[in-house]
């Protein structure tokens, strides 16, 4: 068991996940301990989210064996459908709520605007 390919895949996935977790954590920790000045927010957002997605892919391949599935790859198809719904749900919510916030900012009622 401890010499099989499957075991090596698990160890590889575990090590890669550990590395990506520690990189993301150290960058944020360094930023916070430097008084929130070390990196730009955009850089941290992009880095942390990319590492999370990288780790998702690593675990799908090495822990959930998505790459070794035989055709017609139902698991992959179900996953892709779910990813589609998730992207619409999350990006759509952020988009429409930001728009709403933006529109509300321009609609601060003044004395003249109020009908009564």
């Amino acid at each position: 068991m401890y010499r099989s390919k499957a075991f090596k895949a698990y160890v590889t996935g575990f090590v890669l996940s550990l590395i990506s977790t520690l990189i993301a954590w150290s960058v944020v920790n360094a930023h916070v301990t430097s008084g929130h000045r070390r990196y730009s927010h955009l850089f941290i957002n992009v880095l942390v989210l990319s590492l999370a997605i990288l780790q998702l892919v690593v675990q799908l391949i090495f822990f959930l064996h998505l790459g070794r599935e035989k055709k017609p790859r139902w698991n992959l198809q179900a996953l892709l459908a779910a990813v589609g719904i998730i992207i619409i749900l999350v990006v759509g919510s952020i988009w429409i709520m930001n728009n709403l916030n933006y529109s509300m900012m321009n609609m601060v009622p003044t004395q003249e605007d109020q009908p009564f």
């Binding site: 993301a24 954590w25 920790n29 927010h41 942390v48 698991n75 749900l89 999350v90």
Partner: protein, 197 residues
């Protein structure tokens, strides 16, 4: 295990169908978590004058939680490997490790929730905290259910040994546990890491 009889093949197909069904359930669970993430991201800045993530979360604490859950995801995979190779002793060791790590994770989370509540940051305080407790609490509830399920599987294997049913259940459990770790990675990144910057 390698006997190829028509009977055996049929059972294998049935197992494969159950596993696919469980996988599809996991996908719907991911959509549930995605909607909770969407709510959290939208409400993240609505602290209603209360404390925000930067004031509430501790980075070393959440790193410890993450490493514990990641390791338990790894050990649950090893338990499945051992069960597929009919190594009952290794199965018990790795499943036991998964259970202990999962329980430690849950204990840390309950402790954190209690601390937040005591310091006056309950789920009633603000939109930010309502969505935080709902998202992280739903994950914690899944972990709790997973631990009970794990206990059931341990009892079953202890009584009946490693047969086709126990391997099937263990495989489903390890899919469930791996996905809970994947969801936690996103909680770790979006709620905690991006919450304190």
């Amino acid at each position: 295990m390698t006997k190829v009889s028509p009977m055996h093949k049929e059972i294998d197909e049935e197992t494969a169908t159950s596993l696919l069904g469980f996988w599809v359930y996991m996908m719907t669970d991911c959509i549930l978590f995605a909607s909770l993430f969407a709510v959290f991201i939208v409400l993240k800045n609505n602290t209603a004058g209360g404390r925000n993530g930067a004031e509430l979360f501790s980075l070393p604490f959440v790193l410890m939680q993450t490493l514990i859950l990641l390791t338990s995801s790894f050990t649950s995979g090893l338990a499945m490997l051992a069960a597929q190779r009919s190594r009952i002793k290794d199965t018990f060791i790795w499943l036991g490790a998964t259970g202990v790590l999962g329980a430690s994770f849950l204990a840390l989370e309950i402790n954190e929730f209690a601390k937040l509540d005591h310091s006056g940051s309950s789920w009633r305080t603000s939109g930010f905290l309502s969505s935080y407790f709902t998202l992280v609490g739903t994950h914690g509830l899944h972990i709790t259910v997973g631990l009970l399920w794990l206990g059931g599987i341990l009892v079953y294997i202890y009584k009946k040994g490693l047969n086709e049913t126990s391997v099937k259940r263990l495989t489903m459990f390890s899919i469930f546990w791996h996905f809970l770790d994947v969801v936690w990675i996103f909680i770790f990144s979006v709620v905690y890491l991006l919450g304190v910057i």
